[in-house]
Assembly symmetry: C2
Homo-oligomer: 134 residues x 2
Amino acid sequence: MKRNTWQRDAVRDALGDADGFVSAQSLHAALRDSGSGVGLATVYRALADLAVEGDADSLQQDGESLYRACTPGTHHHHLICRNCGTTVEIAADEVETWAHAVAAQHGFTQPQHIVDVFGLCPDCTRIATAGTTT
Amino acid sequence: MKRNTWQRDAVRDALGDADGFVSAQSLHAALRDSGSGVGLATVYRALADLAVEGDADSLQQDGESLYRACTPGTHHHHLICRNCGTTVEIAADEVETWAHAVAAQHGFTQPQHIVDVFGLCPDCTRIATAGTTT
DNA sequence: GTTGAGTTTGACAATCGTTCTCAACAAAGG
DNA sequence: CCTTTGTTGAGAACGATTGTCAAACTCAAC
């Protein structure tokens, strides 16, 4: 049986409030800031649950897992600013098709794919360019 | 100055001998097996160097970094069997183009992308199917 | 061949993210 | 209300990775 606890809701809310991808640790810190004394282990558990249920996307950067609330049920990918963390959801039918085609081409079945694009968002591009043009 | 040590060569060789992606830890174990008393820290350092120089690809799975020797200089992606670890290098011009287009569309610059396809290779598919078809 | 300078190594500790443990707790149903 | 049973939380445990630092080694010059 799955129980509904305010802790889990708090994690879900905090994840929804976060802008881009956040680590479990920073989410825990944010929760502690907002007064919710949620334990770290609980945050990890809640995030893992959310990811399994499809309410959150996760990706691994460097050595930690980052999570982000996402529209449940839809398969999509992300365009992430590597400077400020801004994230844009992108539907990627083209890539879906490509992945399936490539897999089939080599006799592979049950293709799953990891596709994420990192870059500099318009704002950060402007700043970076201004800094470089010395 | 960059020096040439037998340890670094040993790591490079071991990586070349490995079939698919291997973790730093297992590579270290393999090296120890083959008699080369290379330290763990050295393996990590060598792998990081190889990855930077473009002689090795790295990806993160679960919570550890996996490495694999690759043809230097070429940008490519991988089709990886999630069961046996077999890896196929795939040139992905289509995806390159797509990634750039998507990035540009949203005003993002300097796009880098993580694209890996996991699936079941022909052999593992056969086995899995045989097992499922009870 | 020898010397010297500076990089690399390696054993171990430290660090960091994540998971486990287990007693206390609280949610859902009777 | 009471019982049942999943959930929480504090801290320990854990595993991968990185830092530390003296000793070893490589390279180039002599």
